[in-house]
Amino acid sequence: MIQVQQLHKEFEKTKVLNDVHFHVRKGSIYGLLGSNGAGKTTLLRTVAGILKQSRGEVSVLEENVFENESIKQRMVFLPDTLYFLPHYTVRQMADFYKEIYENWNEERFQKLNELFGLDVNKKIQQFSKGMQRQVAFWLSMSVMPDVLVLDEPFDGLDAVMRKKIRNLIVQDVADREMTVLISSHNLREVEDLCDFIGILHKGEILLERDLDDLKADIHKIQVAFKGDMNAALESELNILHKEHRGSIQLLIVRGEEEQVTSLIQSHQPLVFDRLPLTLEEIFIYEMGGVGYAIENILV
């Protein structure tokens, strides 16, 4: 659905994106994480067809996106700093979108009006920052996009509204197989929403993971053996991290759950507990040596 390959982008002589690859499947929600200045916004602007890549390929809906009207008809980009035409009311803005986007759904617009409960005849610039963001979502969702590109979308929204919008997105993804690409500098903000996570650092993609796989793949275990842990067991397990708390050992292990369980059981542990693992921890252990890069996005 969104396919980015060998993407390079330079502003004058400064490299902003360097050989970026990633892929967003149809009907999935992809979270693009990265600290400030990592190049997220540039990447999204390129995916939205605003900036032209220096090299590489950016295709959306199987087509090159730059200056591609028919693809852009089916895609909406919401930038981190919102923009509305000066002095426009919600209604006027809706009329503008209605003419520009062929798939404008007036019925949806009316329905969402009930959800958001904002005055359509009020100038958008007079709304608060959070309300303006609601208006932006309201207009965007009324376009019925196949691809939604969101740059830091939850800035300035309170928890209730955040949940409303999250539901809205999820619903469209479920109903219409909408594809969503979300950037964020905060993992917690998107972990309950995304299927996939990619981490962008200094213009490069550090890793890309399916969250379900990730959670199924890494385990936090407390074990205690009589005496020391068997060296054979240690080499058989893929241990990412190891800690001693008295006679109890804390292990972060990668591998299929059943396999790991049976392997440990076969060594007759005195204690064997599986502990819950937050996404944050998963990332820290997963990243290992490059962990420094994600510290900032885990705040």
């Binding site: 067809g49 605003i50 200056e67 028919s70 909406v76 002095h87 062929e102």
Partner: protein, 661 residues
């Protein structure tokens, strides 16, 4: 239906109108104020019957506030372009607009056409109003229908031109303010660069006639100057010809095409950077460096008349221009670091090379002297302007055609090339125009010291031909003369009507003039006796000043008993005053005397008639004597006086004696 929608986005036009409709309205009101409203005011003004003004400038007349029209014409289209394309210069707006499913080309076309529409409507509506108002009684005194048509054509074309020029600049830059500034620079640029270039060449190439460039419509290369410099003595007022309108249309179309191409290729991340097209940045910096350097060189070189100062000027201009250009492109004044020096080396080197090479290309021009047998005729005067007047007035024969005459000018030309340099200061400007047998014209102008070239100037000046040109009176056919008018300006005068007398007088005057020496011509001897005007039905009668040294003429006047009536004599002079003069003051003797008096200097006052008579016949040097001598006329002793200047060695004894003691 979808096809129609995708071709034409009504909402974008609507948005443009909401955004910049006010500019359209202001433009309309401005023109409405300048045209229909002024017409009503003029019509109801009862005083107009007394003025009896002829209105020959149509709708560009002052009646219709020409200046206001020009102001609106050159400001509002630029504003329109700035506000319409402002979205390109602001990141958030740019991102929003370009994330919409509309191609850049379509966006550009939409905005450009809504801008054009909003600019052309005010012009057209005012045209229609003016056309309709022609029906009012009295309106046709001010303009006719063809004036409305011409006004409409000029305003439409120039409005479109200025707007598209500003649009083009807008696609090149990322800052709206810079867009405005650069647009006006663009509108002046061709004229400015021609001026700088020719002035620069003129400083280093001796004989180069910048005047030809300035006077030959250099202003037509800038629409602003083109429209405003219309005060030419033309029969039919037309600030811009139809050919020029055609050129503006072609340029406007190419601006449009160019702007569209640049917009399509433009990197949108360039919003808010000074020069959006990276490859143009060096061009911008080099251009600024060059222009400022040349300007600096010209300014200091010309105001100090010194080669060394001009080098200082080139250097300072270069440094300044380069730094400003870098500051503009970087949008900060804190640009001073090592890379600035490196760039200065590169751009400065290129600029200096260009500055040096340009005049060198004209070295052949400098030493080129036409061959005698290729020259048809020569004009020798002070300036190109002088030469143009000759063509315009076509009064008499003003060119040298004889072989000797042409050869003498060529000799002078050769001498100048050998001895003069373009930085040498002179006291006289000479302009030479050779008209060649093959139809070419060769212009040269020099500022020379006339003492250095006295032998050559003497040869030329003493030819009969030259005298005929500089004393048109000698070409007058006595049989066409109706009367002679003598006027000495000091309560003396005489009119001569008799044809015989006229002929006798003119013959004697001619022979006096033809025997004048070069020294007589540049330093006439004695106080001017009388001015004689030769009237033969011409508005501008030729005239000449009779000097005491005109022996044959004065002799004849005495024979006829007219001398006392006509010529100024010692008896007419109440007193004279002598003041020593430092000629470095660089003035003519009359202003020098005024200056000396204003400073309270006083000198020797003489009332003795004999001494006055002696002084009246002494040799006069207009610009470089040692004594200033003022002769006061009449009893009053106020204002009315004539100033001569004498050299020490040639001054009458009593003056020398007085000041030597």
């Amino acid at each position: 239906m979808p096809l129609k929608i995708s071709l034409f986005k009504k909402e974008i036009l609507k948005q443009d109108f909401r955004n910049v409709g006010w500019i359209s309205i202001v433009y309309f009101l401005g023109l409405f104020f300048a045209l229909p409203l002024q017409l009503f005011m003029a019509l109801s003004d009862e005083r107009r019957e007394y003025y009896g003004i002829t209105f020959d400038r149509g709708l560009f007349d002052q009646t219709f506030l020409f200046d206001i029209q020009v102001l609106f014409l050159f400001i509002l289209p630029v504003l329109m372009a700035i506000f319409l394309f402002r979205y390109l210069h602001v990141k958030t707006t740019s991102d929003f607009i370009h994330s919409l499913p509309i191609k850049r080309e379509k966006l550009f076309n939409h905005h450009a056409s809504s801008g054009l529409l909003m600019l052309l409507l005010p012009v057209l509506v005012n045209s229609i109003i003016m056309a309709v108002l022609l029906g009012i009684d009295g309106a046709s005194e001010f303009y006719v229908f063809s004036d409305v048509a011409y006004w409409t054509a000029v305003m439409l074309v120039l409005t479109v031109f200025v707007f598209l020029a500003a649009v083009l600049v807008g696609t090149l830059t990322g800052l709206s303010t810079l867009q405005g500034v650069l647009t006006y620079i663009l509108l002046f640029f061709p004229t400015g660069i021609m001026f700088l270039g020719s002035y620069h060449i003129g400083m280093f190439v001796n004989g180069f006639t910048e005047g030809v460039v300035y006077e030959d419509g250099i202003q037509n290369f800038s629409p602003i100057l083109d429209l405003t410099s219309y005060y030419q003595p033309e029969e039919k007022f037309m600030p811009i010809s139809y050919v020029e309108l055609g050129v503006y249309i072609i340029l406007a179309v190419s601006f449009y095409v160019l702007a569209k191409i640049i917009y399509k290729k433009r990197s949108l991340e360039a919003a808010s950077s000074a020069i959006a097209v990276a490859s143009l940045r060096p061009v911008f910096i080099a251009g600024m460096t060059l222009c400022f350097s040349v300007f600096g060189g010209i300014y200091f070189g010309e105001s100090q008349s010194s080669l060394n100062w001009s080098f200082v000027g080139y250097g300072m201009g270069l440094l300044f221009g380069y730094c400003v250009a870098v500051m503009v492109t970087k949008k900060t004044w804190r640009v001073f670091n090592l890379s600035l020096l490196k760039g200065l080396g590169v751009y400065g080197g290129v600029t200096l090379l260009f500055i040096t090479v340009l005049p060198l290309l004209w070295k052949g021009y400098e030493s080129n002297i036409p061959q005698m047998d290729e020259v048809e005729s020569v004009f020798l005067g002070n300036s190109y302007h002088h030469y143009q007047d000759r063509i315009d007035q076509s009064s008499g024969d003003m060119v040298i055609e004889s072989k000797e005459g042409i050869q003498s000018v060529i000799n002078l030309h050769e001498a100048i090339i050998e001895q003069d340099s373009s930085f040498d200061e002179g006291d006289r400007r000479y302009f030479v125009a050779y008209e060649m047998k093959n139809g070419d014209t060769i212009f040269r102008s020099y500022e020379i010291d006339k003492e250095v070239f006295a032998p050559e100037l003497k040869t030329i000046s003493e030819t009969k031909e030259y005298k005929e040109i500089h004393y048109p009176i000698v070409q007058v056919d006595p049989s066409t003369v109706m009367k002679l008018e003598f006027n000495s300006g000091h309560n003396k005068g005489k009119i001569l009507n008799s044809p015989e007398k006229i002929e006798e007088f003119l013959n004697r005057l001619k022979s006096d003039i033809f025997t004048l020496t070069y020294e007589d011509m540049i330093g006439p001897t004695g106080i001017p006796g009388a001015e004689v005007f030769v009237h033969s039905g011409n508005n501008n009668p030729p005239h000449v000043t009779i000097l005491p040294s005109f022996d044959k003429t004065t002799q004849w006047l005495k024979e006829e008993g007219l001398y006392d009536e006509v010529m100024v004599q010692a008896d007419d002079i109440e007193r004279m005053e002598v003041i020593p003069w430092n000629t470095f003051e660089n003035n003519d003797s009359e202003s020098a005397f005024h200056h000396a008096r204003a400073n309270g200097k006083s000198g020797l006052t003489i009332k003795d008639k004999e001494k006055i008579e002696e002084a009246m016949k002494a040799k006069n040097y207009q610009e470089d004597g040692d004594y200033l001598v003022a002769f006061y006329f009449g009893e009053s002793g106020r204002g009315d006086f004539e100033v001569l200047s004498f050299k020490k060695e040639e001054a009458p004894e009593f003056i020398k004696n007085h000041f030597n003691n």
